[in-house]
Amino acid sequence: MSAAGARIGVITFPGSLDDGDARRAVRRAGASDVALWHGDADLHGVDAVIVPGGFSYGDYLRCGAIAKFAPVMTEVVRAAGQGMPVLGVCNGFQVLCEAGLLPGVLTRNSGLHYVCRDQWLRVDNNTSTWTTRYEPGAELLIPIKHGEGRYVAEEPVLDRLEGDGRVLFRYVDGNPNGSRRDIAGITDERGRVAGLMPHPEHAVDPLTGPTDDGLGMFLSALDTLVAA
């Protein structure tokens, strides 16, 4: 498959906000972007899926709690089971946790405020589908913007995540939300499904973001798709 032949879908829920940005990032990485609709139980033959940031359904009950029941999510869960790469960013991460594709849950920031700032992250794992382009230990500057990003899971779950090398990114230079063990992003057992609170799609062009450090995530997935 050529890069442009790779089709990456981006879901739009009512209340999604960063869907346009995720699609822009996909195009910037050289792949084709495909719009997916929450009410449409069809992935339209895409090769990977991004669940973008925002406030799906207003995030009123708990972030992501209502979105996990959207018809499109049934298909995402099915496809992820068959190994399709899936990335959840911010609200998308919350949705993937609620949907059971990733362990744990994202709770109210310990500072009790919404935080928007440029945040340093350290790459802990560069073997997942979404992180192969990074050197292990590399530090990235990527925006965060969330009110509920404190990653919480039971101790044994946290131990297992660390033991299996499934922590993708950790906050460095200050933990912005009180996440357990400074966790900013994780992956599933197979390294195909990834979720993180920071917004790589807002770090693809230094004109509109702090850096282009986020582009590597999209390029990483594209490498896998092209090689397949």
């Binding site: 009512p14 209340g15 940031g53 919404y114 935080v115 009110g147 807002h202």
Partner: protein
Amino acid sequence: MTDPTREAATQDPATPNGAEPVDSVEQAARTPELDQPYRELGLADDEYERIREILGRRPTEAELAMYSVMWSEHCSYKSSKTHLKYFGETTTDEMRAKMLAGIGENAGVVDIGDGWAVTFKVESHNHPSYVEPYQGAATGVGGIVRDIMAMGARPVAVADPLRFGPADADDTRRVLPGVVEGVGGYGNCLGLPNIGGEVVFDESYARNPLVNAMCVGVLKSDELQLAHATGAGNKVILFGSRTGLDGIGGVSVLASETFSGDETGSGRKKLPSVQVGDPFTEKVLIECCLELYGSDLVVGVQDLGGAGLSCATSELAAAGDGGMRIDLDTVPLRAEGMNPAEILSSESQERMCAIVRPEDVDSFMAVCRKWDVTATVIGEVTDEEHLRIDWRGECVVDVPPRTVADEGPIYQRPVRRPAEQDLIAADDANTLSRPATAAELRETVLRMAASPNLCSREWVTGQYDHYVRGNTVLAQPSDGGVLRVDEETGRGIAVATDCNARYTRLDPYEGARLALAEAYRNVAVTGSKPVAVTNCLNFGSAEDPGVMWQFQQSVRGLADAAAELGIPVTGGNVSFYNQTGGDPILPTPVAGVLGVIDDVTARIPTGIGAAPGESLLLLGD
């Protein structure tokens, strides 16, 4: 899924047993002498007389509710109109060349080239934010965003000029965090980057905080929407949230005083005048509106803000070519037992009203269904001259719409330069002692850097998303916010809002000129060319001649400065009565300037030291 058509069909008029008698037009004609609580509704004796004259009878409850809100200071600009004319008088044809819509529309619209247009406006939500900081500020953002949507634009950014009492005052500790969270909570959830604003502390704003919210929208210049109800037979569609009892405020005196009569019956006296915002519904409403506009399904559109349906129906009809008929029974309600006056006055948020050709109604409803937005046909445009509103088979409103929307009273309030103004001017800053030694200078600089009015705004701006939509090129702490409008060409815009109200207190005319000059400079230093001005004029009581003098002078200052700079004032907002007891706030005419930049990659960031060897130059004197 809400089925909007079924919604309308099954809407149950729910006439409770022993329903209150409806105060119909017929009834009003039969009972001319009925005592009406017009004063409690804020109408003066002569205003009430004028309404009787217009109608040739006493108004019904519903009509009285309508006139009283529409003729309020907030909606009718009755004290300011006579001064605001000066903006029009000082705008030349040359300044007007790029203006697609100006003062009088929901928001001003400016052509920025390449087929793009930009609309921007500031509105105040001062008092509600004092009563309930979070919801007051949140619904302030929601309201200005709907104004921008009503022009046919996609809202693309917000900014929030704020004023509070002393930073260490107890009340500021209550108000400020709530306001900031409200602005952030609503704007972040709508996905609108916050690209500017101000945070100023001054004693005069204690108990009178100012929460001004700006929204900027972008559209193709041929996609402008207008708020008019034209074409007899066209349908009137109300869409968005249901109409509830919140935000009714003063009109509840109608229910308690004249309807039920007995004290126990109504329980309506304590209706909360506060509204609760639902940003998610508004976000969906934005996408729904844009799809409706894009499919050319709308003839005219108006947002529902202050004065709710009273305002939307009368303004749409007044700007149209005929009349309008509304069937109030079809309005989807959230509360039981609402009466016509309450339905017409409710300020429930997240609602819009559209005029739609009959053949487009099905397609309109389909778009609303897609976005799960409740939509209901509530009436139609007629070739009569009146706005007529029916309720349970009886006519409860029958008025010439222009008399409600456009022909409210105009006051020539007394204007007097306060005697103390000379004392203030005589108290010259040159008499203050200056730091004489290096140590004193150091101490002064440190004190200034730490002062609430100069310290970092990050506690505030860090709660606002400035990245969303991926087009923010400059935001806090830049002097002006810069946004990319066109990804192909890099064309973009800049905005800044400013006002130093202490200057305006010293000299309202010069202070207003300085406010505009500062916003103009803040736009210019981003590398953009300023093209238009909006404003939000926050003042004390219109009944205080000294305040009216400040107001008059500030308007003149702003207008003259705009003319001097050659850019038009395309709109604005007036907020009077920002005072507790006899002490008005500092006169605060916030100026907002819009600029255009041909290529955002050429923007100039604020700050020095980006590259070694930079030279520092001081321009001007």
